[in-house]
Amino acid sequence: MRLDVVGKNLIRVDAYSKVTGKALYPQDIYIDGMAYGKTLRSEKPHAYIKVDTREAEKLEGIIKIFTYKDVPKNSHGVVFKDHEVFCEKKVRRIGDPIAFVVGESERVCELALKKIVVHYDELEGVFDPLLAMDENSPKVHESGNIMYHYKIRKGNIKEGFKNSHAIVENTYKTHMVDHAFLQPEAGVSFIDDKGRITIMVATQYPHYDREEVAANLNLPQDQIRIINTNVGGAFGGREDISLQTHLALAVYTLKIPVKVIYSREESFIAHSKRHSMIMKCKTGADKDGKLLAMKAVIIGDTGAYASWGTNVLRKAGVHITGPYYIPNVVVDSYAVYTNNPFAGAMRGFGVTQVPIAHEQQMDILAEELGMDPVSIRMINMFGKGSVTATGQVLTESVPLEECLEKVVEGMDFYHREEEAK
Amino acid sequence: MVLEGVYKVRSIDEVVELLEKYRENAKIIAGGTDIVIALRNEKITPKVLIDISSIDELKSIKDEGEFIKIGAGVTFTKIVESSLFQKNLWGLYKACRLVGSPQIRNKGTIGGNIANGSPAADSIPPLICLGSTITLASKNGKRKVLLEEYYKDKANYGMKEDELLVSIDFKKPTENRVLSFAKLGLRKALAISRISIATFLELDKKGQVTTIRVASGSLGKYPMRELEVEEFLCGRKLNERTIDEAIKVVQQSMDERLKGRSTLPYKRVAVESMLRESIGDGIKFLDGVRA
């Protein structure tokens, strides 16, 4: 195929604006007469709350303080609507939004935050997903803490292990991490010339934001307009709604432009995290290193809210075998609520966590069988026509062997094996 | 934070005048790399800031023959770029080079490092090893304090609210003496030291220690001399065995000093690497001098 443009190193279309500092991010937008907004967030991980904003409202320069009472429909979420725009009765994590202060300057908003009185009636929290799975643990949501369970049942697992020459079993653990994109969340809202509520924000998915904001405000979608500015990195951390609804609510009520800028510290508690996972893996292979069976349990801590928990733990479950053909597979993958920061999408979406387990399992198996790490992969890895643990046939474009060969070519992995002999 | 007055001053006299007037309500700012963060986090809430970064007198490094005098307002970059700290004073050069990042080194000052007094301050262990004296000025005149004493006995020697740190001076080491430094950080830049060790060393012709001073950072409430190690090594020949012993001595001191701290188990093993690096680099330099 002769290609003129595809395959060429075209200069990025946004490069010029970015090297000159002309590219605008939400924090770079200034509108005459705009007010500022700041969010009051929970300081407790699990508590019933009562909020008193009266003293704060008296401050000169404070325009309005929004709470749950001001939100027409107070629930949102990418899959399950289990987030509240502002918590009404209960907070489930440190950082849950409780109120949104709009004032003439950032400084007066900060003062107001200190004057809002939140009475916390603290509840026992649960921070370990294993404990959270116990029926007697405190419930983060009414529905119970096990939010999702994904299963694979393929082949005959007992038979697989029975025929295995080597079996290795280990439990691996990965931690919650942050996207740490360089641009903290920010946004500006105003009413456009057609009377639409317009929000300029850095987001991964403007149409989803529009849908969510419209639902929360109980307005038709065409009354909402999202304008994506330049986005200072995302990596999954800008999928859930953060300040969009706050900004929309403020401009809808007050009819003046409003701007919000999060500090780095607020950014850390405002957006989702990568799911921490506990992965218990049992892998069996025959004498030649051919994989025969895998049994895996994955427990993902989705924190206080579901966000993408179902999809992340599903994707983790599908990929825990690694890119290897295994005839007998049992996988149980759970998403569990706790009072930790909520976990959602982050680069790799559950698939970044599972190789911490399956790739170490492969090396451990190889060692038990006296094989080298390259060979054991070569004989098990997916190729064209391979069938995955979910029964899917990989019909085309499976150049895994080539990938591994190219890596090994320059690194001399076999050499050590020879030395050892 | 709400500041009521800010002063960008040109002379030490002006500073001490203002300090006398505002006392605990005033804070000195030079590079700002620590203090602006403290203001932002409301760790401090002064009413007045006095910027000393334009006082020329505080910004010079003087080679006074027997002594070197560093103005409190000298930046880390200036020390790194000075030819004075290249040979047997390169422990100080290295410590300053490992501070934060280029931007932090361009603004951060040696005086600020001392006045802030963080246990992890990179430049202090080398300065303690050199037996540095600091000069503090107030409306009532000047006084000198040994840097080591300054931290050890804050009640008697620490900075008063009307005082300004003016300079640091130390005796230039003779050619057969060397200052070295090692730092353990979690990453290669923008790293706060988990452990730092500075060593000041003199060996005789047989390789026996005739003078040694060892100072540590992040191994206590403030940077300090490691006297037990010094005592152990003084008069001994430096070899694998004695250095191994010296490591045990440091570990014993740490066990007492850091008892119950969660960081102790790691630090007591990692200190080995820092002490080896610091002493080893010192020996290597002196071998070069003798060769």
């Binding site: 290609l3 003129d4 595809v6 060429k8 075209l10 990025r12 279309v13 946004d14 921070f127 294993l130 799975m133 049942r153 280990n170 439990t171 653990k173 991490v177 998915y205 403007p206 934001d209 307009r225 994506n228 986005v231 995302a234 780095r264 850390f268 349990v297 994707k315 599908v318 990929h319 890119p323 920061p341 790799g348 979406f349 698939v351 190789p355 911490i356 790739e359 992969r377 997916f382 029964g391 899917q392 085309e396 474009s397 499976v398 895994l400 990938c403 890596v407 320059g410 690194m411 992995f413 | 353990l184 979690l186 990453r187 290669k188 923008l190 188990p265 790691y266 990692a270 690497s273 080896r276």
Partner: protein, 341 residues
Amino acid sequence: MKKRGKGIGISFYGTGYGNGFPDVSKAKLRLHDNGKIGIYVGATEVGQGAKTALLQIGAEILNLSTENLLFISEDTSLMPDSGTAAASRQTYNTGNAIKIACENFKDKLIEISKEELGLNSTHGLMVEKGEIYLEFFLQKRISFKELVNKYGDGTIEAEGEFIAQTVEMDPETGQGAPYWPYTFNACGVELEVDTLTGRVEILNVRFAQDVGRAVNPRLVEGQMDGGFAMALGYALFEDLNLVKGQIKSNKFSRYLIPTAMDMIDVEKILIEDPEPTAPYGAKGIGEPVMIPVAPAILNAIYDATGVRILELPVTPERLRKAMDTKKNEGNFNMELNALKR
């Protein structure tokens, strides 16, 4: 003492929302006043290069240079929904939607040109460099500008929609075809462990990434470097330090991501094996480039030290402790009463 080791990680990654959920991308094309073509698509540029790569796909089909294309992807009042900039799906999904929209647009231009040029059939009409012409009688030609002058700004338009093919999995057995396409890669890492401090230094990296086809190789390389750096932080540095739900490391002075000095030059190898259902064979690689790195680092640490670190991150403390006790660090018993029900 310094000990060296090598390790490999390989991975696969299924693109898209998956599991039978309709993964839809839409694109719209319009002919504008200056003869330029506007591509209207809700694909967010988050830094990955979506605007550039998707524009390249459009330009290729329309036989135009990218300067003659406009890319409108910011304003929900202007562009159709192309799904989220996530799941490594924009190049594949929205790339396909743009491809379909461009083909429909070309058909439309040809249909209109047939009328304008007074031809009996569309046979032999070509679209290239801003013109429609009859390939065997070049005098029969009409430019985009002429068309827009006659029909008006934005009135000639076409749409395209692409829906990825996935099959919902059975809730009891997990059997189904949850994602498509899958992307593959392999990473090899050589590193050195300071056995006294437990610090890890990466010495050498080879990283091969299946891309289907690289729409813009330099953008792919940028993703690979960035993915490696993020995974390096994941494996060795980054820790929120959660205590009872509170993030203790909530600032950059405590939450440590790699600096330029912690990063290393990465030997990047792009493997091209075009995916038939993808635009020009191109697959998404934004997420895959992070995935095989951390396990390669962990396997290399084992190779160097003989200890397995089963829990992330591999802080110097954790590694040093493992070396001291000669025990695999983090191998906890998982007593799951909850699971026994």
